[in-house]
Subunit: 472 residues, 4 copies
């Protein structure tokens, strides 16, 4: 976790808030209990008025930032204890029970809500006044998430704090408050440097690579919050191309010629990254994609198709399990099995089954550059991938998290691309395959309903046929 500001800067910021009030507000802490609990109490009591309280909150934030990991966890545990008063809550709940009619109940319920507002939330609110205070709060939750999920199992006290923070942040970061901005090579270098750090899908290799991703046939959009200027929340990278893209290496080839966007017909969303760990569970992606589809569609009437080129992160793990399961042979038709066995790499024991052959091929370094192997493996991989995307899952939810995200948004599975990502990671996670999810404005609502309601996943005819399989 990186701190929001260097100590010197922070110091200056605090001075800026307070200046004239400094001497006064600064003095109380002289002769007082300096424990974190005491400091929090002092902030919450609001002695000297709201402005003084905010000064104390800034000092407290500074104290936190100076702590090491263990100290910070203690700090958060202390903070978490500033909960609502059980007696007051109990009394308020009693009134709810005694309500004579719905209107009375409504009033009593509203009063119960007030009684439940925990003091610690008031303190968090006070941090907003610090310069970069919002980033401080977001990072606080980010840290909290990293420790509640920690080694010793979940810690209910911290989880309660985290849950309240999530609720507060969800209200503050409602999509109505976000600002959509296009980033390009004219954006501040400091911001672009952050993009490089936050890019979670396809690593940015160099400033040259970065510049290429911001060229005239590319688009990069991000959401920002007015209280966190210069800090992207999420960003998406788009390529304007002719026809559905089928290879990420080709898209990211810095030597490829630049296309005139007026000659493009397709926008490919090839990377989408969340930037703030502390905003986990607050969803921006759906809204971002749709806003960007809208913007690009308005700018270029010639662009009619909006689709992704997406990874299939867990396909290999799923496949490997299948291949090593008892009933593995049922995965393949006889012809497929035969063809795979023939193509399997030489050296080592000859595979007895098609599935063993397939496993051997995938384990063979460079199989994807070997024509016989790919010829044998591709149809099988495509078919199994279609099945993985369309049929596998927990309940109604698709097993693949990326598939789940796009299906929830109302996209459909359009095309499976072989050897679309031949990076080490791409081969390791998805046997080199990638998938296009299609965002067709006219079908989005229906697709979403089908998936969210009955768990029905929409796909193109080709992918559906593939998934139905050899016996289908």
């Amino acid at each position: 976790m990186s701190d929001v500001a260097a100590p010197g800067l922070f110091d200056r910021a605090i001075r800026r808030i307070t200046s004239a009030w400094r001497d006064v507000a600064g003095s109380p802490s002289r002769d007082e209990d300096d424990s974190i609990a005491a400091q929090i109490r002092a902030c919450l009591e609001g002695r000297g008025g709201e402005v003084s309280a905010r000064y104390r909150a800034a000092k407290l934030a500074q104290t936190y930032l100076a702590l090491d990991k263990a100290g910070r966890i203690d700090f958060l545990r202390t903070l978490a204890t500033f909960d609502s008063d059980p007696a007051v809550v109990a009394k308020a709940y009693e009134v709810v029970g005694e309500a004579q009619d719905p209107a009375e109940r409504a009033a009593a319920t509203s009063a119960l809500r007030r009684a439940l507002e925990p003091p610690r939330m008031r303190l968090l609110m006070q941090f907003t006044t610090i310069p970069d205070g919002m980033k401080f709060i977001v990072d606080l939750r980010g840290f909290l998430l990293s420790v509640t999920r920690g080694e010793d199992g979940p810690e209910p006290l911290l989880m309660a704090l985290e849950s309240d923070m999530r609720s507060l942040l969800a209200s503050w970061f409602d999509m109505g408050f976000l600002e959509l901005a296009r980033l390009d090579w004219s954006s501040p270098a400091a911001l672009l440097e952050k993009l490089v750090g936050y890019e979670a899908v396809h690593h940015v290799r160099s400033w040259r690579d970065l510049k290429d991703r911001l060229d005239s046939d590319r688009r990069c959009y991000a959401f920002f919050h007015p209280s966190m200027p210069g800090e992207p929340l999420i960003f998406v990278e788009v390529a304007l191309v002719a026809g559905l893209a089928s290879s990420i290496q080709k898209l990211l080839d810095t030597r490829a010629p630049v296309l005139d966007p007026r000659a493009a017909d397709t926008a490919i969303f090839y990377s989408i990254s969340n930037c703030q760990d502390g905003l986990a569970g607050i969803s921006f992606g759906n809204s971002l994609i749709k806003r960007v589809v809208d913007l690009i569609g308005q700018e270029y009437r010639n662009i009619k198709v909006f689709a992704t080129l997406s990874p299939i992160p867990n396909f290999r793990r799923w496949l490997d399990e299948k291949l090593s399961a008892a009933n593995a042979p049922a995965l393949l038709s006889e012809e497929e099995g035969a063809s795979l066995r023939t193509a399997a790499p030489i050296g080592g024991p000859a595979p007895e089954t098609g599935t063993q052959a397939l496993a051997a091929i995938l384990a063979y370094r460079g199989w994807w550059r070997d024509a016989p192997m790919t010829r044998a493996a591709e149809p099988v991989l495509a078919r199994l991938c279609a099945r993985y995307l369309l049929s596998e899952g927990r309940g109604k939810r698709a097993l693949d998290p990326v598939a789940h995200f796009h299906l929830s948004n109302g996209a459909r599975v359009e095309r499976i691309n072989m050897l679309a990502d031949t990076s080490d990671k791409g081969l390791r996670e998805s046997a080199g395959m990638m998938v296009n999810y299609l965002y067709d404005p006219a079908q989005i609502e229906g697709n979403h309903e089908a998936y969210a309601g009955e768990g029905r996943r929409t796909a193109s005819t080709t992918v559906r046929r593939l998934a139905r399989g050899w016996g289908g």
Copy 2:
């Protein structure tokens, strides 16, 4: 209540949000229950995904704006019924009761909070996506306040809704999110026009008057919220002068020469106005004044004194009651009584007591331009005013609302000024008097504590002596 946007504009705004998704999202309402309850339900179900839901919310807002007052009240009553589920709340509360240790209780309490989150708040959140949506929500609460305080007495259902909205708005409009801006003659005309409408203390008579209030020896600062651009929340008008100002008419005289701010030693806060009815109960004034004191102090080292020139809105009402009470004569010393009887206006029955004489003088149109009358009345008025400000009140709270505001902020009562506001309103409400409240950074915290804690009101020696009275 003024609507947030003309229908045409609104229409366009909605198109902007939705464009590509329009046809789809628009269709469901065709064959459906079109009642407001049904529309709200459709928004909350989120059918078609979040973006579609937001589109429906925009339509719903449009529906609301097209309603008349009675229709809007019905709308709000319907909205208010979308409360949390009592059964779910009861169950969550049960878990709180069963908690074995504080950590468990914390987790259960947090879960109870989630259970209590009312669906209607989710709907309000959806309105943020509409252009000018924040203003829409604020105005919604403004309307709510005007009707819950309505003719037939308070309505618990609407009050519960209002209370939840207050809580939501207090979180969104936390002072950490506000932007302080200086307004001057280079500000947009549209914004300045709004100032004129919102000015609640000293009516702006003309563009000439307005320009004068924004001249180089004046300052005007306002708070804005990033989601309500161009809409001030509160603003303060300041005059940079030499010495404490003692007359509002002199301050607002457009023919008075402009002072070089570098020759000033005092900043007079002579008007502070809240702009948004819908944010009533969420306090900005304290923080605004202190930020502005800070800014001016940094810009002009020569300015050492920060004070207000404030009205005393209820003084006359209080005085009139006192004068007509049975024990009225005790208000005055014998000398005062005699002096007032001598100065009382001729015509009508001669006043028998000093208090009758004072009442007669104050009832006499133009008394303040009559030397004998003012000579007799002024010392008495000053003394009673000091008493009114320093001693009268309900519990610890000062009777005068303006005094309460500034004392809460930590200011002190510095000086009472005779004939300081000789407008009709000034004479009618406060016998022409105004008061300076002094903001001394070194004493603010102590003053605030004294007042907030024990109800002790700080004042200058002169005013304290005055208040002690003739027998003192």
Copy 3:
């Protein structure tokens, strides 16, 4: 002439330029000739380096601003004497004469140009460093124009200075450097206040009137120069309407409903005003109109017609001369004469001729509200106006200056409107008539060529027929 800045401000500005260099640069003037000539010399010598010289120029500008009119004229006379050195010029010209070939001549001619660069221009250049220095220079020429055209006839010395300044300003204010900006009700009040002052065609009556001219069915565009921020050079006011506008009073009626611009088909340019006297002779209007036609055409595809509603400032003067000339009767047909005599106002001697009758009608206050009078006068006025616009002139140039401007731009005379401007000024100058000039992009170049080349004026068939007259 209004000075560029209050002394205090100026002072501050100078300090800003110089600060650290102040003490040094300030000292020389102590023991020196303080005459204006000496000061100018000091600036030009550049002692202490360019930055010090600029400081002296700022002081010199301050000196100028403190002078009265006579003092300023003296100042300019002194400045004008800092001309190029005749001996050096003569020598340079000799070299031109001795050139052996075109290339040599070119080099010598270029050297001659350098020799002719007058020191006074270097000084003017130095003024650019002063804050608001460009406005200072422009106003200097404005003042110069007002005095070279002064009482005692033209003054060659000042005219030479003025001519050089015009050349310099024409280079600096080339249209490639201008910024086109839309002004509306969100523009700074200070800027809108300037518009009111600069509006030269239809006086702005109030802030209400101004706001109306900036409403959603209006457009106002201005050119600015980057070195004169907040100072418009020229601006045009446009109304988006349905059909060619025929009355300025209707256009400027603040009670008229606002039209949705998407329902408009015509853009009416109803006012265009130059703002800077000091830029007289440097033309912005043609370019402004065409840029605005472009912009509006791009924003609203529904707007197809671009035309003006223009005054005919000298028509009445011309007509009155015609009516009082010896051959006046030939102006009218017999029928016209009879009709006019019948309609002539009662009281005073009965008019003997039609022309006398017309003169009597036009002299009759309120004739334009009298049905018989207007019925008789209108056809005659329309015919004579058409003739005035299309046939009268000096050489190829139209007599009417507004007609000359629009015809030069390539517009055509489209329609003559009766009772189109019934203000006092409108009746006095043009018998209440106004004219629409049509800007048809497809014909502009041809029209311009016809007028600029052969002096041929383009008009609609109707106007051409009218101009051909009663005998036509």
Copy 4:
């Protein structure tokens, strides 16, 4: 020379200018002479009005950009022939000769100036309307400079054009029109990338190096022109340090800790680069340094010393000539000679004289890391360098161009630093030495006068003593 814009972009730009006028303005060229001369003539005739003429100029610029080097030279030769009319000039000059008094002469001289205005300048002016037109014009002169100084010797025709362009650009780029901007890591990446390209003194090695030069203890300022946004004219890099910097490698060490600027006492200007070849001969450096001194002095009161760390580009060339001259031995004292001979590198013939020894040392790769060699060489090098900076020159002008620049600005030679630049270039050009020039605001004007007037060069006592030499 890099062209101002890719063809596609250019095309679009032209469309933007013209849009509505396109079809018309485009047509004339159909049936016409398409030679460059004819195209220039068409622009100058202004057929179809100024706006159409500008369209033609844009086409012409496009034609130019499509040409190769030879074609561009031809283009410029053709352009150069559009000179003023000799007959008209002769006539105007005659009038000057006949003037009867100074005022008449002034008027006639002014008229002569108008007569001399060459049509080609009008054409250049038209290029300003093109997007990026100013950059186009500047690059045109840049190209012109590169070819007039070309292989076949100077070409008078092109030189005349260049000279006129210089005069025009000097007027447009007057320092009053320039905008000073601070560049830092928040500046647009596209702009920072340009800095890397333009840095002429100390090569930027990487984005890491660049970021380091923009850190909180560094400052980078540049001048921009409003018509060339995003294109720096000149920029300076400054380090805020404690004490005079003596090594460029230490300054540019990316691993060095960042200093809190409030702890600095000295600002070191360590790099200043002109960016636009086409603005050669128009000086920005003096003004830039002084503005930046001012700004930093205002921001940090603690910074009292402003100095450079500058290269001595021609020192080695001068020294090598001296060392190989007949009277070389006179350069050294006997002791110096002996010491150098002792320290001279082994291998090769033993040096007979001290000067030969010095030459041998400097020719020895790595001498600067060899203690005995540096011990012997340093005092001699320092002494000779001081002499080179303070005494060598052509007339009053210092031989070293960097010294000339800073002495002209009024700086003084403060300190010579040994092994201050141990890069290959630094050793090759200046034997690893660098010099601090001190900008002391209190002495700048005097220093400037001394140098500009009598050619007297100011230096610190130490450097003056050094220069006086061993015999001194």
